[in-house]
Amino acid sequence: MSILVQVEHFGGKASESVHELLAMAKSLGGPVDALVCAGTAEAVATIAAQLDADTVVGVADARLAEYLPSAYLAALNAAIAARTPDVVLISYSTAGIDLAAGAAVYSGRELVGYVSEIARTGNSLSVVSQIFGGKLMAKSNLPLPGIAVIMPGAFNAEGPGSGAAIEMLDVDLPAAEIMSHVEVLEPESSGIDLTKAERIVCVGRAIGGANKLDVAEALAGKLGAEIAGSRPVIDAGWLPKARQIGKSGNKVKPKLYLTAGVSGAPEHLEGMQESDLIIALNLDEQAPIFSKAHYGAVCDMFDVLPLLTEKLS
């Protein structure tokens, strides 16, 4: 079963999820191709040296020096056409969202996303996905050739590989006027680095407003913890972006992670599931956060948090 893995990289380093995809690809058989797009052939080689693949398909162009949706999609489409893999594996990320559907339309392939498990079954793949914010599992039969978008953490990575032979591919990229890269923006720190915090109290949408944060802040104060929020809390402007946990925020591994009113969508779990001790409070007994928590309680945070704060005083 031939497989093409879309490689994401930043600052000369392949993303952790790429190694997970390559390990998953090997488990399905092979041969395994890895598509590396970069600004120069040297930059392609730098990434290729980190990968455990049979072949690296390299595409080098100044327009690929930083991730650019239209140019990367053109390169992916060209690589699929050139290598005709049975399966294309793409990580669930911003690039994964941008690229998978376009490649599916261009190549006429079926696509399954949010994949957490994958297995070979004859001429197709049996895949399990998480949908509805992780509240339901979907089991699908993906016919080949197909495309699967994989959740980060779905497969154990074997770490950086020892490199692979490179075959460069010439691709006719879209004109710069269609889409161009203006500037890379570094994370807004605001002096807070949640990735270094040992204790975090994280609130979700159920907190209901910035004016109700004091109940969580009081607990965080007693615990010596940083206050944090899930994406809806940040989007609503109740906490600053630097305090966001999850896919588009911080990925944290504190010793204590206490959540209140966080449902536990896969995008949030990705950012905190490796915490040493996870305690979750939620009104919804179906909340997916309970699948990752060590201790859980179905309760009203506005009743329990003040009582807990009092006990810590």
Partner: protein, 255 residues
């Protein structure tokens, strides 16, 4: 400048989700529906762009129970026009972005927008997300996971978000599709009186022969996962739960 913002209703996830007997779909009989939270952000961004640059905003939705009310709320928030795509979605019809993208694409071909805004995700996008599907069908440049949009001369500049809080500014030539994650400011509140004023407003239907595409829905079954596999659930009154958590924190050296 003409902006089309696509609005979708989806199940409220704080409610219990039940499956149909054959496990092919959620039981939609009694489930509460709400505006997709990212479409909510896309609508806010569209109205903000209108206020800043004088664009016209068309809110577009597939005809379904609740869609007219949703579009009237969009008008109350500042959209200039609401339009429904006539279509009868029944049990067994896939509502996936992959299946519905050709329908929206037909509508967009009629409406000829400069910019299409839609939420980056819906919570049932098992076969891919709508913005990149639309872009592929109508051949517009596209960027997803966008948190800022600035309209310029024949282009739009967007801030695309990546893991770890990184981001980049990208220029997209118009017409373009943007999968919005977060508007420049939180969605605005609409007074009930404003909604009542629109009670008798007619929401026109597009004249369109809309044909959904295929997806893998027939090769998919759903199930409710075992969630409590890992967690030790603490039970009792609020006082009991607080005491139990306190005991855990003490035992682990946090208190």
């Amino acid at each position: 400048m003409k902006i089309v913002v696509i609005l979708r209703l989806e199940p409220v996830l704080t409610e219990e989700l039940e499956l149909t007997d054959d496990g092919s779909d959620i039981d939609r009989e009694w489930i509460g529906l709400d505006l997709n939270q990212f479409d909510d952000q896309a609508l806010e961004q569209a109205v903000l762009l209108k206020e800043r640059s004088g664009a016209s905003v068309v809110a577009l939705a597939i005809d379904s129970e609740g869609s007219e009310r949703m579009l009237k709320a969009a008008l109350a928030r500042g959209a200039d026009e609401g339009l429904v795509i006539p279509m009868q979605l029944e049990h067994g019809n896939s509502r996936s972005s992959r299946a519905l993208a050709p329908v929206y694409a037909s509508a967009l071909a009629e409406l000829q927008p400069d910019l299409v805004l839609v939420g980056v995700l819906s919570n049932s996008d098992l076969y891919g997300e709508l913005a990149p599907y639309l872009a592929a069908h109508i051949n517009f440049p596209q960027a997803s996971a966008v948190s800022e949009v600035l309209v310029g001369d024949g282009k739009v500049t967007v801030r695309q978000e990546y893991a770890g809080g990184r981001a980049a500014l990208l220029d997209l030539k118009l017409p373009a599709v943007v999968g919005l994650q977060t508007a420049d400011q939180p969605p605005r509140y609409v007074a009930g009186s404003k909604l009542r004023d629109l009670l008798n407003t007619e929401i026109p239907k597009l004249e369109l022969e809309a044909v959904p595409g295929a997806d893998l829905a027939e090769a998919t079954t759903l199930k409710v996962p075992e969630l409590s596999g890992n967690a030790e659930m603490l039970e009792g009154s609020s006082e009991d739960i607080a005491a139990a958590i306190h005991a855990v924190l003490q035992e682990k050296g946090f208190a």
